[in-house]
């Protein structure tokens, strides 16, 4: 009997000991449940013919017909292609440029200049895409834009209706992406280069290696893990696009959709502009399931080849 009592005491003691921790975790856990887990159940939306008056559970099931509709639409493949291709171009071009600039930044002798370059190149990253779209507009506006009114006019050319002409947009969007994100990426690689031991470089320069040789055979191999981690992170997000870039910069212009619309923009337009729950939820669920698969696959591949770079 006495033994039982101490056991019970021990239990209440243990509960009392840990209760504060559960209380501390509670607000965060509630937030994750509301913000992240409830929407996971919302995935059933994609398999229902939603009737707003009946809610999710009252609406009839419709199997895969939402997805059938989605993939029967011609533009769907185009939208998926845009999403993936832009991401690949951004990954490759972004990485090459950012690594190059990080190496150049590391060569700068003057600390003041190095700080100044970093500060200036990072500024676009701190601005929202809405602001970026105003900046782009100042250059591209048909009637008052700098390019049409000053550059093309000076060259005696014909004004271009930028927000209607598809062929320029892959370049414009890539430029804007690089312009806004290059500072961020450069700083990540720069911090990785700064962290390398100076011994290698000193030994190499004593042996008479040129800067270029040092970069090629010391810097690049040593920052390879960082590059791989960054690439994996972006590969896991290959079906997710930067909504702001593709929505704000082309000003959601319908004439440009075939080259500017990505999954996130399509989901927004279908849901908010056309109130099309079935198509938008099918596209959105496609995005989350394929995204999940990509995260798992890339992580599995990395675990196999270099375990220390794995994410989980």
């Amino acid at each position: 009997m006495g033994k039982e009592k101490t056991l019970q005491n021990k239990r209440t003691n243990k509960f009392r000991q840990f209760l504060p921790f559960y209380l501390m975790a509670l607000p965060g856990a509630v937030y994750l449940i509301c913000n992240n887990y409830l929407p996971m159940f919302g995935i059933v939306l994609a398999f229902k013919k939603l009737d707003i008056t009946k809610g999710i559970f009252g609406s009839p099931w419709c199997g895969l017909s939402n997805f059938e509709f989605l993939f029967k639409t011609k533009s769907t493949i185009q939208i998926i292609r845009n999403t993936i291709l832009y991401n690949l171009v951004f990954m490759l071009l972004g990485t090459v440029l950012a690594v190059m600039m990080a190496i150049f930044l590391n060569e700068i002798r003057s600390r003041k200049l190095s700080k100044l370059y970093q500060s200036l190149i990072l500024i676009p990253f701190l601005m929202s895409w809405v602001i970026a779209s105003y900046l782009a507009y100042a250059f591209l506006a048909q009637d008052v834009g700098l390019i049409n009114k000053t550059i093309i006019a000076a060259a005696g050319g014909k004004a271009v209706n930028w927000y209607m002409e598809k062929k320029y947009w892959p370049y414009i969007l890539t430029f804007c992406y690089i312009w806004k994100n290059i500072g961020y990426m450069m700083i990540i690689y720069y911090s990785s280069i700064v962290g390398l031991s100076q011994d290698y470089f000193e030994a190499a320069s004593i042996d008479g290696a040129t800067k270029w040789q040092q970069i090629r055979s010391i810097t690049l191999p040593l920052i390879r893990p960082t590059i791989i981690t960054m690439l994996i992170l972006s590969l896991g997000r290959i079906v997710t696009s930067d909504f702001g870039l593709f929505y704000q910069i082309p000003k959601n212009s319908g004439a440009l959709y075939s080259v500017t619309q990505t999954l996130d923009v399509y989901v927004y337009n279908a849901l908010m502009k056309n109130s099309d729950f079935s198509m938008s939820s099918a596209a959105s669920v496609f995005q989350s399931i394929v995204g999940f698969a990509f995260v798992l696959i890339t992580n599995a591949v990395v675990t196999k080849y270099s375990k220390e770079n794995a994410l989980f």
Binding site: F18, A25, M127
Partner: protein, 296 residues
């Protein structure tokens, strides 16, 4: 030979970085100059780095109708302040529980957290839940709660900080002295984790300051316009310049509305606060970027 190689690299590096710096800066200069350009000159000659006629017309127009921009600033400050404070509170408390290895069920909590980084319900389901279950549409909560308040990534950063930077012996000693767990958290853990909280707080604050997506989804121009932040006002003007015209009301109905330059001056109003605080916080921004990228 060697110094020649060195000189060559100095020249190339400086040139390339100077060019990229210039490219980062030039659009902002054009924006500011455009906002100080005379409206008629701008309409005839376009935005330019060297306008033929300067004017503060756009700004005096905005000052006359300051209620809209002022309200936008107020909303932005309110949302950024409450959101960032809530985010730090939620994140640091949750991370503290996760950092306790002896807590029964801590693995489940950990999984609950990490799984959100791998799988999401998608934008449509998230929209449905926030608007039809929690009814945040056209309220301040719409700008504060969805997506921005807490994320698994920050939780893990803070948890790792607790584990590596706060000595366990300190916590033990406090417990021996009879301090409660909440007391320990408030008096020891929070003060010691100011650096990490400042870092994630800065990035979260920037995210709230710059956010327009929540407003785009959850605020309607008809019922939610009073809640518009600076970013949302800019987004609305970008959609239709008439929003600016209507919002300024009848008081100035007689004056010609300087559409081309006024939009630029409001965009300037949107970037000025960030540009002003940036030089003081520059190194923390850099830290905020690198703290997540470096794997321990």
């Amino acid at each position: 030979m060697k110094s020649k190689d060195d000189l060559k690299w100095q020249v190339i590096s400086n040139t390339v970085l100077a060019l990229f710096s210039l490219a980062a800066l030039l659009p902002f200069i054009l924006l500011v100059v455009a906002s100080f350009t005379d409206e008629n000159w701008a309409l005839a000659n376009g935005y330019s780095f060297f306008p033929g006629k300067w004017s503060t017309q756009a700004y005096s127009y905005i000052l006359q109708n300051f209620s809209m921009v002022g309200r936008g600033y107020l909303n932005t400050l309110l949302v950024t302040g409450i959101g960032t404070f809530g985010s730090i509170l939620l994140t640091s408390l949750f991370a503290y529980a996760l950092a306790n290895d002896k807590l029964p069920g801590v693995r489940i909590l950990n999984f609950l957290c990490i799984f959100t980084m791998l799988f999401t319900g998608g934008q449509v389901a998230s929209y449905y839940v926030w608007s039809n279950v929690f009814h945040v549409r056209d309220t301040y909560m719409a700008l504060i709660l969805p997506n921005l308040m807490m994320n698994a990534f920050n939780v893990i950063l803070v948890k790792n900080y607790y584990k590596t930077s706060i000595p366990a012996s300190l916590l033990e000693a406090a417990k021996v002295d009879g301090a409660s767990e909440f007391g320990i958290f408030l008096k020891i853990v929070l003060p010691l984790s100011i650096p990490i909280n400042a870092t994630i707080g800065l990035m979260t604050g920037l995210a709230y300051w710059n956010d327009w997506v929540n407003g785009l989804y959850f605020l309607t121009a008809r019922k939610g316009a009073g809640l518009f932040t600076i970013q949302l006002i800019l987004n609305q003007i970008s959609d239709s310049i008439s929003f600016l015209q209507n919002a300024s009301g009848s008081a100035t109905a007689g004056i010609k509305f300087p559409a081309a330059t006024a939009r630029m001056s409001i965009a300037v109003a949107g970037i000025i606060p960030v540009l002003i605080i940036y030089p003081f916080l520059q190194k923390y921004f850099v830290k905020g970027i690198t703290v997540g990228a470096v794997k321990e």
